[in-house]
Symmetry: D3
Subunit: 307 residues, 6 copies
């Protein structure tokens, strides 16, 4: 009775068309023949588990005492490892589809996982410094606890530091999924390929974009809506963009970029510079520069039309 | 024992006040007497099912083989139809509350659903081209798979193309809910009433706003933070804005708008134009224009105050 | 078999390092010894319940009739009170860790809760006016229902008005968590400490930031990407920012700020002023000012490089 | 790759066979064309809600205070009514399939529901007495609370009294589903058609069966494994059993039946009788009878074979 | 603060003891080294999916129309196959632990699965007849629909017929888990190794036990509490029972066994026999026998003691 | 519109009646004023966690390797302790309602918990022997793994041994809830007060009842449907049964009881005795007795009536 105004023939035609174009993939065979795809839901849950291992007491393990903490951390980390290995393996299988290599990928995934896990103390140490500058840098921040618990910047940087570590180990696809999940939650889009130094502070953060080949020094502050993007890019002979060429800004230590500024291209913002809000900047500036938008005009423009 | 410092009388007064003002609706009777409201949770789940029918192998159907794909697509699509019909019906009942017309609305919903389902192959075809230009247009994008799996632009455009089709069939309320769910997930706000051509590419996307009466050509690229908005709007005799008048920009084919640009009003951006970042533009420009913010000034403004 | 390429010794070392640095907190003892932490998941669910009490028929209580509404509102509100009290108590225990004071905090939480609940009718009344101006102010908005159901501005302002009420009662931490959850869902970041008048309208909203000490009058409109931020702030003798000093803009009644404008510092935007998009403004302006970015330049800049 | 050793043709044949024989129903048209089936999951949840309304403080409403109890009960009961009406309607549509009568069934379902709800105080009163005799009748029962909380007999009798009330109102199918859910949880199978008096006590209860036409007086005790069944039944001309004829035992007041006794047929167990364990009884017995299995024999039977 | 009265040393000792005796398995290496264990939760869900494929319209697929049924059945069956294969493989790995054979087991599991799926039409056909005799055999059963929807006998026989098919294909462990899940839900314990003919009817069923080597003919009726068990069994030289020897009853066609009867050993109950309730029977009986417990005695036994 | 045929007045009356009789409890004040009730859902989950700690690798921890097992067991056990403490405390508060003693109960609960946890290695050891005799005693049992994974007897005995330990520590209410949950899942009703020796084997088990004051020796086998119950019990002056008096059977070592036997009263079944199926026994028997039901009669009883 329900849905009966579409004929069986028409319905089958639609199904056929949807099925026909299922081979999106630019890889031979198309992805739908590959049994294992990374799962965005699984990745999300795994990263949340990892976040609770990095910030015990804040996420997940809310009332654990010191006595039992090592047991919980061990159990949690083993769970993270088990899940992450599956996702790394899926990413390899999906990116380099070759059924004959699954066993080889399994060994590779295990190796990548082991190396990643060993970077966790360093990641934790970096995040600890990011938290400290967040507290110090924002008069509205009442404690380091509030920074951890409420600041989207810390959320996004945590995902970035995890993803960057995986990206450095050449894990495909997974790092981008991890940073995109932070992007969706916070509006902060940090490419896992970017290099970001110590004591990084992003305030508010919505609309921040930091591109793949950015290099950012220590003690840099970025406000919401800042773009560190690419200006243009060379094409190969087929007219496709050449991948991987350095094309995003370099920010030296102690730089501050105010909200809504757009900096494009492989330019260098010298140490200690301050870039004002809403600036459009496509050239390098020396150390200690102070760059601002020209003063606005006041006029009666369009007064009659209601604006 | 709990909560006992609020008196029963006071509690009842608060309840009464909350209940009294429940009739928000500007429709006679108030909405709370209408038995069926569209459900945001249901709509979200239905759109996710539809996404997995449009991109089989990427969402939901992660390890289906070619042999069984038609069964899964058929089953999935029937589920989508069943759910979507209820939401369309609810939207009609909610928007045009008239208990005597429920049976009529049911027929109307069935008809709208049937027509919508027939647009799915075309939607899929458009999305396929959107995916292709995303891969081609971003050097950081490693494959079409990554575009589908990780790019918020593709997520938002998928919701838009579904919502736009429903909007063209005069389904009320539902299209806006669908695009708002993408807005929440991606920060990209595409009004279902806008007209968007083939091969549309949004990169990063947080903060993009495309208004109800925009008309966008083929092969257009938009970066994060771009606003295509209304400058002002005429009021009717009661001082309310007159709804539905064309008031947003027209973008001709091959236009590129860089991050943070704001273009307001029924202006036309001519074919092949490039609008630089952070520009404020309220006039039409001819084909092949290149518009940029004036060069910033460098000064020592406020150096003493710490900025 | 799984995970076996990390040695037990290495694994234990990592655990030890993660556990060692668990004492993030700048409070004596470290937070992990405090039994109760506020729960972000619980807070989220509680606020959603409260939203359905404030907008009955739109959220949660979708098909309740007038006859039974008071029962449902009573039951819902009692549930909200029970949950909220636990979160207020947790916030007190977490912020002022002192095991000897838990009983005292329990009384304080009960009192704060009671006072908060009594503000609900006023909150509802304010939101009712916010909904009305949203409908009136946007030609794309088909009804007040659509404003409630689809507009991220209404979502964010609802969280803000709840959080602001709690903040005024000196509930720690919780208000910021509540506004951050709206920030994540909508991209609109309204600090609970800000003061916002009646008939507030935010359109689209992604990227809006309104800082802690802002004072906003009645009938103000804000578009996406607008920042009302701090320009700089004095440091104390230890070099830490002094907390709580007024440092954000004052907007008088009837002000409109277009998308992407950045206004920084304790400046005053006079009654009835209009600030155009993408403006960078760090000085006060008198009533009825109209401030716009300087006209962009059109040139052939970088034409050869592909931009 | 998965599942690929079954050919598409073979798979389709199996599907076809499973689909062909889908018309189980002995009703014209077969059930799969009827849009609404009662849902066992929904019924289960609804009965659990009703249980918490009948025993507030024990199930569901675990920490409600007197002040707010009426709100919660009202909200709960309205929820029960809303859900139960759908299930009654589904039962009618399923049992008497006739698309032209759906509107009529809706009115009938509403009427049945109203009448059922009015029996709730009487059901509660009966259960209150069942709880009291359970506590009084079992030395192992520490309190009435334990009877409510732990005794499968109380669980099964609650479902029975609800189902019996619905059955008396001629609601089809639903009553049997409700008693079967108790049967599954407790091993106690009470047919909703049976008539059971006040102060009924079932101890342990696994394996108890009480048939459709049983009539049980007040103050009766039944132990585990007792069957009150039918001995045989007349057939109609087609050889089918004639439905609805009295064929199960009558137990007068104050009867006790010990574990494992089987009583079959329309026999009467007189007032105050005691039937011992494991008895097979197919004749009536007068008041105050005491019936026991003959003394067992002691022998060396099968000693050699290991028993 | 919580749990602090157990010392870390004591806690570690307990952990150590629990971990030490983890190697329950009588297989070399112990089971905890085998990566894949069958999952009872997964098996439960898979069997429920299969039940909805065998009885479409009753379970799971509650409002599917004829038009879309094949799509849903195909999708459902493919899901069942995918899940079942994993569980068969796990059962093989768990029962015959040998890491070097996993690939071989995978092929074997695929083969077993394929053969099992081909038996589904026959299983469906048998169940169809079981449903028919249930309706015909019980005057309290209002329709075949009620038999399918409410009778624990049909639930248990469905699980048995599935499990028996898997058992015949030598799938280890899994069949027993499947029948135990029905045992838990219904109190009916049918060993997957038993052979049961057509038109099998179990009424009420709680406490029914049918042993591994039973052979049951066509058209047999069994009531609650009936045991078809083993009397004794020979031991091997180590004193362990010899597995697999025929040791349970044979029931020829058309036999009826009333509630609570216990029949033990490799005895034969001749065609058409009726065994009364609560009988203890350990010898064969010829065709058409009628066996009943001796008449009970009526006496004043224990009258003084309250029984 | 829904539910509107019940008047608001009638509805309120029903609510009032349901609320009035909410004070079931025989304790002063009624239970609904006590804030903490034990939660059956929580208890269920906690016992399942404990089951997975007692049988690691079978339940919950399905693919843990030896390397990480101690972390998982530690984490699991701490979780069990945290949850169990809350339930013990609730049981104390509920059973002995006295708001002034909550702090005292908290200490008592902590102490009870600590003592209980120390009995876990002994419980595990006992269960290990129960598993061994299950495998040895049933020719149908293919391995100890199958005994753990599939035998309801092991499930029920596990709950019993946990509950008995808590009962011995005088934890109120909770032990009975734990054994009732096994009763519901398996049909086996083992009172936590009973004393059961080593190497206990229950086969099939549905309908087994073992009363509160039973004393069972080592190496005892019990089949389905066996009752070890009370025959009668003395009343106190008010006519209530006197609680706690020994009134259930004593089974010495090496006893076997076949299915359906009923043994009532404080009788002793001597060492090594075998009691046949369906026997009704209310006297003691010496060591090595073999007791069977008298041979059944074969007759033509009721042949004409269809039985």
């Amino acid at each position: 009775m329900a849905n009966n105004n579409i004929s069986t023939r028409k319905f089958s035609e639609i199904i056929e068309k949807l099925a026909e174009s299922a081979q999106w993939s630019n890889q031979p065979g198309g992805n739908i023949y590959i049994p294992r795809l990374p799962s965005r839901g699984e990745i999300h849950e795994t990263i949340e588990l990892l976040r609770s291992a990095l910030f015990p007491g804040y996420f997940g393990l809310s009332d654990v005492t010191e006595q039992f903490l090592p047991f919980h951390l061990g159990s949690l980390l083993e769970e993270v490892m088990k899940r992450l290995k599956i996702q790394i393996l899926s990413s390899l299988c999906f990116t380099y589809p070759d059924p004959s290599k699954v066993a080889e990928y399994e060994i590779q995934a295990q190796k990548m996982l082991g190396e990643f896990i060993e970077t966790l103390p360093a990641i934790k140490n970096s995040l600890s410094q990011d938290v400290a500058v967040t507290y110090e840098g924002d008069p509205a921040c009442a404690s380091e606890d509030e920074a951890i618990y409420c600041y989207p910047g810390i959320h996004a940087i945590t995902n970035y530091r995890i993803a960057h570590s995986l990206n450095s180990l050449k894990v495909p696809l997974l790092p981008r999924i991890i940073t995109e999940q932070a992007h969706s939650a916070t509006g902060i889009d940090l490419h896992p390929g970017a290099t970001i130094g110590k004591k990084f502070f992003i305030d508010h953060g919505t609309g921040v974009v930091i591109g793949e080949t950015c290099r950012i020094g220590d003690n840099v502050k970025i406000y919401q809506g800042v773009t560190l993007g690419a200006k243009s890019f060379p094409l190969d002979m087929q007219g496709n963009p050449i991948k991987g060429i350095p094309r995003h800004p370099i920010l030296e230590d102690d730089v501050i970029i105010y909200s809504g500024a757009t900096i494009l291209g492989r330019v260098t913002i010298g140490k200690g510079s301050v870039i004002g809000g809403n600036v459009w900047l496509i050239h390098s500036v020396p150390a200690n520069s102070r760059i601002f938008q020209r003063a606005p005009k006041e006029d009666d423009f369009d007064r009659g039309s209601g604006i």
